[in-house]
Structures are given as structure tokens and as C-alpha cells.
């Protein structure tokens, strides 16, 4: 791999060794400043016969650090298979590279190695088969809500009338009807984020990418939005990849929770959430829920202590 100049930190490798039973073929080669690590997260649903919607193989994302002039690795050989209709959440320490990973799937960040496939087609760059919901609603302030929801469709070249019609289903589903003629500044943060979500869903993407979608909201709104997203996803059955810091959010919404290591990110663990669907927000009070949360937390905490990645 040319162009790699990575300062090897020994500690994370220890962490990998400790949790090596989660990996298939964890081959760490430390050689001449080049570190290659691999963790293939298969999930525990090996007998799942749904087709693989999103397949990520050994992707490496690095970027040039302007201060040191070195290439830093943000995502290190991550592989992940996500099946149709699955809701997969990635959790990890802040700055671990999970958002970079999501951006790579979205095609906004180039990966230097490996491949990303949606429906078995290699993707390189942004496309209409994926839609992203970012932490910030980032609505076009001069467009009314209706035209913000159709924005993604308009960009894909659809006529406005057709886009309106296609979007109207999601406008109703996300209960935004009646707000089409409001400007974004007239809406609360939670409402703006719902418009953001509707904009993504209106494009009817193969894979929906959520990048800490509720992180900027207050605690109460966040809880409400989680419940709403839960209901929504169970209704539309989209394949979703979400990045979050909230472990409870991850457990509530996901079929699988992927835990990323401290930077450079590799898969520490892949935990399936066997809580049956449809779920309701109150499952957060259950014993099973708490156990899953602490299980995830232990993995993150162990990695943070060893890796010193905070």
C-alpha cells in the first residue's frame, strides 16, 4: 500500500488480540510502519437468507493530515455485510472514524482500498441509491418545507410535479402535512430534522444512512424522535446504517450494533439485538435491553481504557 505512513500504536492491537474471538482471521502485520488489520464482521445471522444490500469489503479511508504531512488512517480495513431491511448501527468513541466510514459509504469521502457494493454494484462517489441524514438538518433556508423535501428528487432530475407526488407519501408518513408552506426557520429543531429525514426517504434510497441524526436535539425531542424513527423504519422496512453516540438509541433501533475501535477504526464487535419487532420505546426499561446496553458499553470501555482513545 503506497502512500501509507502510519505511526503504529501498540496498544490497540492488544485490544484486538483480547477480543480476537470476535474476528475471523485477525491478521495484524506490523511491518515497516505499515499496519494492516482486518476484522470481518459477519454478524451472527449467518443463516439469514435475505440478500445482502450493502457489502463493504476491507475498506481503508485515510486522509492527509495538514499539520504533520502524514497520511492518517481513519478507517482501517473494515468489512461489513448488511442485508436487505436490516437496521445496523455503528457506535464508538467520538473521533473514532465512524462518521468517516458513513461518509465513505455515501461516497462523499474516497476510500483508498477495498470496495463498497450496493445491490452488488460497486459504488464510487455519491448516488441516488443512498441518501444521508446528517446531524444538522441543513435545509435550504430559502425553500419552503415542501420544496426541501423534494430537493433530493429534483437533483436526480425529476420534474417538480412528479417529485411532489412521490414525496407526498413520506410527508404524510412523517406527519409533515400542513407544513409544506413553512420556511425552515419557522420550525423547531425536531421538525427540521423530520424534514431532513423526509427529504432522504423521498428519494426512496436502497440504503438510508443516518449520521448521528438526533445528536443536535434536546434530550426529550431526541427520545420522541427515536420512537418515531423506530415506528417509521418498521413501516417502510428500509436498509439503514446509522452512526450514533447513544447506546440506548443503537439498541432500541437496531438489528445489529457494530462497535468500532478507537481510531483508526476497525470492527471491535458485532452484536445482534434479538429484541423482537415491532418494538416500542418502553422496552428501554426491560432487563434484556439493559443487558445489551451494558454488553456494548463494556466493549467500548475496554477499548477506551486500553487504547487510551478518549
Amino acid at each position: 500500500m503506497p502512500g501509507y505512513k502510519i505511526n503504529v500504536i501498540k496498544k490497540p492491537i492488544l485490544a484486538v488480540r483480547e477480543s480476537a474471538f470476535f474476528f475471523e482471521g485477525s491478521n495484524h502485520i506490523v511491518n515497516a510502519g505499515i499496519k494492516i488489520m482486518s476484522g470481518i464482521a459477519q454478524g451472527y445471522l449467518a443463516n439469514d437468507n435475505r440478500p445482502v444490500k450493502l457489502s463493504i469489503k476491507n475498506i481503508v479511508v485515510g486522509y492527509l493530515d495538514k499539520q504533520s504531512g502524514h497520511t492518517l488512517v481513519a478507517v482501517d480495513k473494515v468489512s461489513l455485510d448488511i442485508r436487505e431491511g436490516e437496521f445496523v448501527t455503528i457506535v464508538g468513541l467520538s473521533g473514532c472514524g465512524k462518521s468517516t466510514f458513513l461518509n465513505a459509504i455515501a461516497g462523499l469521502v474516497k476510500h483508498q482500498h477495498g470496495e463498497i457494493r450496493v445491490n452488488n454494484r460497486i459504488v464510487n462517489g455519491p448516488g441516488t441509491d443512498r441518501a444521508v441524514v446528517f446531524q444538522k438538518a441543513s435545509l435550504l433556508p430559502w425553500r419552503k418545507v415542501g420544496r426541501n423535501i423534494t430537493y433530493g428528487l429534483e437533483l436526480s432530475g425529476m420534474k417538480l410535479a412528479e417529485a411532489r407526488e412521490k414525496a407526498s407519501y413520506y410527508v404524510n408518513l412523517i406527519r409533515l402535512n400542513g407544513f409544506e408552506n413553512h420556511y425552515p426557520h419557522q420550525l423547531s429543531g425536531g421538525m427540521q430534522q423530520r424534514v431532513n429525514l423526509a427529504r432522504a426517504l423521498a428519494c426512496d434510497p436502497e440504503v438510508l444512512l443516518l449520521d448521528e441524526p438526533f445528536a443536535a436535539l434536546d434530550a426529550i425531542t431526541r427520545e420522541l424522535m427515536q420512537n418515531e424513527l423506530l415506528e417509521l423504519c418498521e413501516k417502510v422496512g428500509k436498509t439503514v446504517v446509522m452512526v450514533t453516540h447513544q447506546i440506548d438509541e443503537a439498541v432500541l433501533l437496531s438489528d445489529r450494533v457494530i462497535i468500532f475501535s478507537a481510531r483508526p477504526a476497525y470492527v471491535l464487535d458485532d452484536i445482534s439485538i434479538p429484541i423482537p419487532r415491532p418494538r416500542k420505546g418502553h422496552i428501554k426499561d426491560s432487563e434484556e435491553f439493559r443487558e445489551l446496553m451494558s454488553k456494548i458499553w463494556r466493549v467500548i470501555e475496554g477499548n477506551a481504557n486500553i487504547g487510551g482513545g478518549i
Binding site: 455515501a106 461516497g107 462523499l108 462517489g125 455519491p126 448516488g127 441516488t128 443512498r130 441518501a131 444521508v132 446528517f134 444538522k136 441543513s138 435550504l140 433556508p141 430559502w142 425553500r143 430537493y151 433530493g152 429534483e154 437533483l155 436526480s156 400542513g178 413553512h182 420556511y183 426557520h185 419557522q186 420550525l187 428519494c203
Partner: protein
């Protein structure tokens, strides 16, 4: 959750507005009264200061004999042609300058140098090049009005919200789509500010150019009246220019607010 409360303008704010209007107009009235009294009681040589009443009379006389309309239409023509050309060139050029790094790098210093040069100082050259007629005045207006437009639109392009561009890119937007769906709407408020500034500069340009050298127009009329000691005519000309300037600025401000509706309540400056 189903409706949005829009707070009405509070009566306090309304009262304050009325008070300001009263205070502002009373200062003007006071000024005019003092001026008139200075003239009526011959406290200052009437030849120097004229009086509001005489200015109005001169204004009426000029309207009646047609000189005002004739000169005003010449000035208006010069202004509109120069201003129009400035908008047609300055708007796209400012956007291009801000949008393309290479263009900014190559033309930036040249524009900055031109902008720093007082255009009026180039007036003798414009007269040599374009003659004493209307063309040299149009060029002065163009050169005066174009820079606020270029500068404002260049700045507009640098204030584009990076998050919006990020979202657009995530939806697969092309550079052109990003331009017309994000950059262009971003530029509109800046265009409006640019238009207002440019109108002021352009008006100044047309008057100075006519004072400098010409045989018609409001500027010429003012200059001619001054050199023949007709102070009331000078003031009458200045009044026309002032009223034009205020009207222009007010209408452009109104137009700007129309395009700014999406910002919500626009603070009153």
C-alpha cells in the same frame, strides 16, 4: 404542534416607530425654518443661501419651462445605461470571481487596484476617449457602480453554507446544480445590497461627470447655476438629486426585503 404562532408586531415597537418618525421630521422642519428665517431677516447674504421657499419657486419655474424634465431625462438616461451595464457585467463577473478559484487568483489583484483608484480621477481620460457627450458619462457611472456589485457577489460566493453543499453532494448534485440551487439563492441578498450601493455610487458618478464636463443634465444644470450665482437653482438641482437618491434606495430596499422573506422578520436598521 400543528400550527406556528407568529407574534404580531408589538404595540411598543409601533409606538417607538411613530416617535422616531415625529422626532426625525421635526428636526428637518426645524432646519428648514431656521434656514427660511435666516433668509427672511437677511442675517446672511441672501445671494449665498437662498431659502426653502425660493428653492421651491425655482423648482416650479424649472418644471414649467421644461428645463428640469429635459436635464433630468438626460441624467436618467446616462444613469440607467451605465447602471444597467454595471449590473449586467458586475453580477455575473462577481459570481465568477467568487466561484472559480483560478479566476479569483488571476483577476483579484487587478480588480482591487482598479477599485482603489478614484474613478472620477479618470474623468479627463474618459472625456478624451469618449468625448463630451453622453458616452463618457455612461462610462463613469458604469465604473462607479460596478465595483460594489463585484465585491458583494464575490463575498456572497465565499459565504455559501458548506453544510448545504455537503448535503447536495450527498444527493449526487453536479457542480452546476450546486450552483443554481445553493450558490445563486445565496447570492441574491448580496446582489440587493450591491444594487443599493451601486445606485448611490452611480448617482454620484453621473452628477460629478456632468459637473466636470457636459452641456446637459442635472449636474450640468447645478454647475451652470452655481457659476452664475443662481443659488436657488443650485439648491433646486440638489433637491432633485437627493429625492432621486432616496427614492431609489428605498425601492431597492423594499425589493431586497421581498427576496429576504425566507429569513423571517428582517431587523430594521
Amino acid at each position: 404542534m400543528r400550527h406556528v404562532t407568529v407574534f404580531p408586531k408589538s404595540t411598543v415597537a409601533k409606538r417607538e416607530k411613530i416617535l422616531n418618525l415625529l422626532l426625525g421630521s421635526s428636526v428637518i422642519v426645524l432646519f428648514l425654518a431656521v434656514w427660511e428665517l435666516l433668509f427672511q431677516f437677511k442675517l446672511v447674504n441672501p445671494l449665498f443661501i437662498s431659502a426653502p421657499s425660493r428653492v421651491i419657486l425655482a423648482e416650479i419655474a424649472m418644471i414649467e419651462d421644461g428645463t428640469l424634465l429635459k436635464n433630468l431625462s438626460v441624467s436618467a438616461k446616462e444613469f440607467l445605461l451605465g447602471y444597467g451595464a454595471a449590473v449586467l457585467v458586475g453580477f455575473p463577473f462577481g459570481i465568477i470571481l467568487g466561484w472559480f478559484k483560478l479566476v479569483r487568483g488571476s483577476f483579484g489583484p487587478f480588480i482591487a487596484a482598479l477599485q482603489a483608484t478614484p474613478r472620477v480621477a479618470l474623468m479627463p481620460l474618459f472625456i478624451i476617449w469618449f468625448g463630451l457627450g453622453i458616452t463618457s458619462k455612461i462610462v463613469v457611472v458604469l465604473m462607479s457602480a460596478i465595483f460594489p456589485l463585484i465585491v458583494n457577489l464575490r463575498v456572497a460566493m465565499t459565504t455559501i453554507d458548506a453544510d448545504l453543499v455537503h448535503v447536495a453532494r450527498a444527493y449526487g448534485a453536479s457542480r452546476w446544480q450546486i450552483f443554481h440551487s445553493i450558490a445563486f439563492p445565496t447570492s441574491l441578498p448580496f446582489l440587493m445590497t450591491g444594487l443599493r450601493l451601486a445606485a448611490g455610487r452611480g448617482l454620484l458618478g453621473v452628477i460629478v461627470a456632468e459637473v466636470f464636463g457636459g452641456a446637459e443634465g442635472i449636474g450640468y444644470m447645478i454647475q451652470y447655476a452655481g457659476s452664475t450665482f443662481q443659488t436657488d437653482k443650485v439648491f433646486a438641482g440638489v433637491l432633485v438629486v437627493a429625492v432621486t437618491g432616496i427614492t431609489l434606495d428605498f425601492s431597492l430596499d423594499r425589493l431586497g426585503r421581498h427576496f429576504d422573506r425566507w429569513r423571517g422578520e428582517v431587523p430594521v436598521h
